[in-house]
């Protein structure tokens, strides 16, 4: 555990998370996250080598459901509240931006 995060790393994770910040905001988040991560250092006191991780708590056997398709009737309502639709399609900005050669 390094216990330190750099401003550049915060800039990079902001990109990954699709969030943009001014330099001032970025510096503030950098400070906040550095402070919080410094507290995580405490976990180094524990010997965790032989401990198995718990990703999910399940106190019961997960149920098995029959694999039967069910028709859901709410699709009109979904489209009604979508930001931009045409007919029964969601409209999004152009996804393919550069002309690519088809080989």
């Amino acid at each position: 555990m390094s216990g330190r995060v750099s401003l550049e790393e915060v800039r990079k994770i902001a990109q990954l998370a699709k969030l943009s910040f001014s330099e001032e905001e970025l510096t503030q988040f950098f400070q906040d996250i550095s402070n919080i991560i410094a507290h995580f250092e405490k976990l180094r006191e524990l010997d965790l080598e032989h401990v198995s991780p718990t990703s999910h708590i399940s106190w019961s056997q997960p149920p098995m459901n029959p694999d039967e398709p069910v028709c859901w009737q709410g699709s009109d309502l979904v489209l009604e509240h979508a930001p931009h639709v045409a007919g029964r399609y969601f409209i999004v900005p152009k996804v393919v931006e550069k002309e690519e050669k088809l080989s």
Partner: protein
């Protein structure tokens, strides 16, 4: 009938008045709506009041429910729903700009079950944005105020539900608890809140924050009403694969008074050491003396990893959140900004303008914990500590039936008191996080007042042992005989 008459009411009392024809669902609704008009401009517990829909529903119930013997258990009872629980045709914003105007095309299972039981959705309650916070100060629509003192926070994130109950704007409510979001506001507002065993209530329709921790929880003014709510919303749901395949909770699981007297109550010493307001410790010690006097056995126990749970939680929960919140991209629902530019432009602009500061902070924290090179150091380590926290509880429950702890180390704090340093705010959940990490049930109950502010007592039990919690909570409620909250708002 007027509001003061309802101060000590449980659902049973309303049902009796309905049955005797002395009150109708529409009359009851009018009384609560009048209360909301009077006090909610000061409290801001509600983000949306479903006046029109609620009246239509009350009328429909009255027409269909003429035969009083066939009325379902919550017939005509208004209920408030936290704004991260989907309600068909009623806005659900998670107190975020990114979901402003979003109207779900379906009901959460819990809401569906409440409606099937005859309840009326009165409105949606305020919260910290996406349930990330402990004070409602992170709501994009402004905070809720504590009915006991308007200068103080009501707790969070289910602060709107808790404040609405304490102010008697509504008799029942749903909240959600990821790290303490039902129990801490219940404590701050002097009402009852339950975090169920993970998997006991369906999460279908609960907007995801940290999926391995999120649970919908019942909130009410009395233990009896909390039990009624829990009976209705719990039980298997095929639409949530993490929901346990068991029938709904039944009150036959609650031990009788004589069995409660034989209980062994564990006191985890880590919850009573430094950092807890001494007046809170004293209030709880008083209660323990009372319990001992009634014949219960009190035994000190140790949960040695308690002091690591908070850090592990702030790795695990933001990691899951950063992944869950990736869905807010402006494509399918909610806010869209920059739609005229490129796809990347739209993603950045939508998310940057839609999310508030705390949500962004947690997304960054989670993205960092999960990023290549840090996964082992943070997320994996967090998950391992989670195992230790869970084992601590398993061991403790070998020698006692339940645990008693404070809900919060502090009294309701003032607005702005903990917002400067995010970690200070995180510390508010230090006693509610470990049980959430272990996925076990815990209940928050008012155990007294200090200088006019309520003190919350937490009872924790093993998985699926909600009956134990209710048994002891009913016992305590009777033993303490505290007046139910009815604070003078704005005095």
């Amino acid at each position: 009938m007027n509001l003061c008459d309802f101060r000590n009411f449980t659902i049973r009392n309303y049902q009796d008045l309905f049955a005797r024809g002395e009150l109708s669902p529409r009359e009851l609704l009018s009384i609560f709506l009048q209360r909301i008009r009077e006090v909610d401009p000061l409290l801001h517990a509600f983000l949306f009041v479903n006046e029109e829909g609620a009246f239509a529903r009350a009328q429909e119930l009255e027409e269909k429910g003429k035969d009083k013997d066939t009325r379902p258990p919550l017939w005509g009872i208004p209920v408030a729903i936290k704004d991260n629980i989907c309600t068909l045709g009623i806005p659900t914003t998670c107190a975020s700009r990114i979901l402003e105007g979003y109207v779900p095309p379906y009901n959460a299972t819990a809401v569906e079950r409440l409606e099937a039981a005859g309840a009326i959705v009165l409105g949606k309650t305020n919260m910290d944005e996406f349930a990330m916070g402990s004070s409602t100060e992170n709501s994009a629509y402004g905070p809720t105020r504590n009915p006991f003192d308007l200068r103080r926070v009501p707790g969070g994130s289910s602060g709107g539900s808790a404040a609405a109950l304490a102010a008697l704007e509504v008799p029942l409510a749903l909240g959600s608890d990821t790290g303490g979001s039902v129990r801490q506001p219940a404590a701050f507002c002097g009402i009852v809140g339950l975090r169920p065993t993970y998997g006991r209530v369906s999460r279908y329709g609960l907007v995801s924050f940290a999926s391995s921790l999120d649970q919908i929880g019942p909130m009410a003014r009395t233990v009896a009403d909390t039990i009624t709510l829990f009976e209705i919303i719990s039980g298997r749901d095929e639409r949530d694969s993490t929901c346990a395949p068991y029938p709904p909770f039944s009150r036959t699981e609650i031990p009788h008074k004589e069995e409660v007297r034989k209980m062994v109550v564990g006191l985890p010493r880590e919850y009573f050491s430094g950092g807890v307001d001494s007046r809170i410790v004293r209030a709880i010690e008083e209660v323990l003396k009372g319990l001992e006097g009634e014949g219960l056995t009190i035994r000190e126990v140790s949960l040695p990893h308690t002091n690591y749970a908070l850090e592990a939680y702030y790795i695990v929960a933001p990691s899951e959140a950063s992944s869950n919140l990736a869905r807010y991209d402006g494509v399918l629902y909610g806010l869209r900004e920059g739609g005229a530019g490129s796809l990347q432009d739209m993603y950045f602009k939508t998310r940057t303008s839609g999310f508030g500061v705390e949500v962004k902070r947690r997304i960054l924290l989670g993205t960092y914990s999960l990023s290549s090179g840090y996964y082992d150091a943070y997320y994996l380590r967090g998950m391992k500590v989670r195992t230790l926290v869970r084992q601590d509880f398993e061991k403790a429950f070998e020698e006692c039936h339940v645990l008693i702890t404070p809900v919060s180390p502090v009294f309701p704090f003032f607005f702005g008191e903990r917002t400067k340093d995010p970690y200070e705010m995180y510390l508010a959940d230090v006693f509610t996080i470990p049980s959430a990490m272990a996925g076990i049930p815990a209940l928050s109950l008012n155990c007294g007042y200090v200088d006019g502010l309520p003190v919350g007592l937490q009872i924790i039990a093993g998985p699926f042992q909600e009956g134990m919690l209710f048994g002891l909570a009913l016992f305590l409620e009777e033993m303490l005989a505290l007046p139910l909250p009815f604070p003078e708002i704005g005095q």
